[in-house]
Symmetry: none
Subunit: 332 residues, 2 copies
């Protein structure tokens, strides 16, 4: 039954090359390692006739009907909803869901990954931050928001289109001078495309725009936006009349700050966020927002994870977003 | 930020002592082993700070180290936080958590209960609504908020004290005519004590009060509060100057309605909710509120579930709440 016996596995490559699993993982995923290591790994891959796709990502014959879900937390509204939707999608298919909250701790992310492997779950769905995460190719894996290599399906909202849509909406709403605000990690992830999409939308409509981008990996915090806002906004003063914030959380904080500076939202300045956060999870949107299709993301993750047809494992799936009006823009 | 510490397990003791698991078990249970072995095991127990009771009994001999958690959802902020805290408490003890979201569906609650049994998890923690839920006594069970019988430990906030505290705070804040508002099920559950505690607090301080209670089991909805509010509040009119709402969700809806009626909160009317909901899970409280000790509830549930000493399984544990100021009361 087990046809995999003679197929080389990632750890065989590591042993053959005399390097760590992490190094093999980096080479396979095109991340930089020393030239010497790269050669060792590539030689071993050739010698063992190792193919990522020959192995990876097919469900094993003996199922546990258990999937591990690795998320930062279930406290932030987006993650709480995502956990819930993944739970529903898995349970509907009679799969059980092991929840692993990492608090974005790199080490815990790796530990839970390893734990999931040891526990012989059928697959893993992860939203992780560790840039050096080692993913075994012994197990099907689907990543949310962060691409981890061409052989691992990544599911995300269409963040680029979302950024573009935000620019278009602010344009339709009559805004002339736009501002994009973002704080986040410098890591390569899908939500970073919100900026590029927004820029694209501004250019397409010939709109003036400025970017204010802070990096939390560089130690900057949301408070560092305050002097910037004080410089550009005040009573009877607004250098920008439309702001797109990278997420609803930032949008709400910015709206609070603007009110403190005597700026009226949405009368003087209109603000759009991203995520589709609702008060208490079910009530009104916390602000005008680009809504992530969380249910669809969850369904797609589960479908891809349980997919047995390997040619049907696309490296990146971007799902459509929509605009919903909250009380931080004027009625269209 | 990472407070997780590793709890020593019996096998850690065995490894540390360089003996078999059986030997450790004998020493722990006071059975004879060679003096030298006994010393090795006791030294290891001391060094690793190993506690039998952090472990389990009442728990089966062959463990799966898996606990099923049955919750309505992870979208409502209270449940999202509860799921997260239970996850942290379980993972710290090297237990895995199977999440089962029921959407308060009675049938799903029973199905997941049965599924958990079939899957031979080591225990179940549930927050359920089905009044006829059948719970096997083959498995340790801890219930949150709803008492299910004297032999099943129930963990909740001290809801009675919370209601009392709300009355006291409104009194301290200068309110003279108080109102309690609640919508919920008629089922017997711990949160229903908020009303009784509030009433008690009003009587103790000689305060005028009125109760407005709707029942969703009887088909009433939050909208049914509107005519009541319209009757008692308006521009320059407020029959009550302090309102205690059964939860933060209702408090926020009531504040919205009052604003629509031209009533100023907190200038004319002060409002206190219950739960301790924060915007986006981490920011300011959504309103002045009685905060539930969610981390402590989770820890207590897990401790009781894994408790080996059966006489230490109290039928009801009520954990202390506290008051936190939001923007729906005047500064004390």
């Amino acid at each position: 039954m087990n046809k995999r016996k003679n197929v080389a596995r990632m750890k065989d490559v590591a042993i053959e090359a005399g390097v760590s699993l992490g190094t093999v993982s980096k080479v396979i995923n095109g991340k930089p390692v020393g030239e010497e290591y790269e050669k060792k790994v590539n030689d071993a891959i050739k010698k063992l006739d190792y193919h990522v796709n020959s192995y990876a990502q097919g469900l094993k014959a003996s199922r546990t009907y258990t999937v591990a879900v690795i998320l930062p937390n279930t406290i932030h509204p987006f993650f709480g909803r995502l956990a819930n939707c993944l739970n529903v999608s898995l349970m509907q298919r009679h799969y059980r869901m092991l929840l692993c909250c990492t608090d974005q701790n790199y080490q815990l992310e790796q530990e839970y990954m390893d734990m999931a492997l040891q526990n012989k779950v059928d697959g893993i769905i992860g939203l992780t931050y560790n840039p050096d995460l080692i993913i075994s190719d012994d197990i099907p894996y689907v990543t949310i928001d962060r691409p981890l290599g061409a052989h691992i399906p990544c599911v995300a909202s269409d963040n680029f289109a979302g950024g573009q849509l935000a620019a278009e909406k602010l344009h339709e709403l009559g805004c002339k001078k736009l501002l994009f605000m973002r704080i986040g990690s410098d890591l390569n992830n899908e939500p970073n495309k919100r900026r590029a999409g927004f820029e694209n939308g501004c250019i397409a409509h010939g709109l003036d725009y400025e970017m204010k981008i802070l990096s939390d990996t560089a130690g900057e915090s949301i408070d560092d936006f305050i002097p910037y806002l004080e410089k550009h906004f005040g009573k009877d003063k607004a250098d920008f009349d439309g702001i797109f914030c990278v997420n609803d959380l930032l949008a709400c904080i910015v709206v609070e700050q603007l009110k403190k500076l005597g700026v009226k939202v949405p009368e003087d300045v209109q603000v759009i966020g991203f995520d589709g956060t609702r008060n208490f999870g079910y009530l009104d949107y916390t602000c005008s927002t680009i809504v992530q299709p969380v249910e669809d993301i969850a369904e797609m993750c589960v479908e891809l994870l349980l997919q047995t047809n390997m040619s049907m494992k696309p490296p990146l799936v971007c799902l459509p977003v929509k605009y919903e009006e909250g009380d931080t823009t004027r009625p269209l």
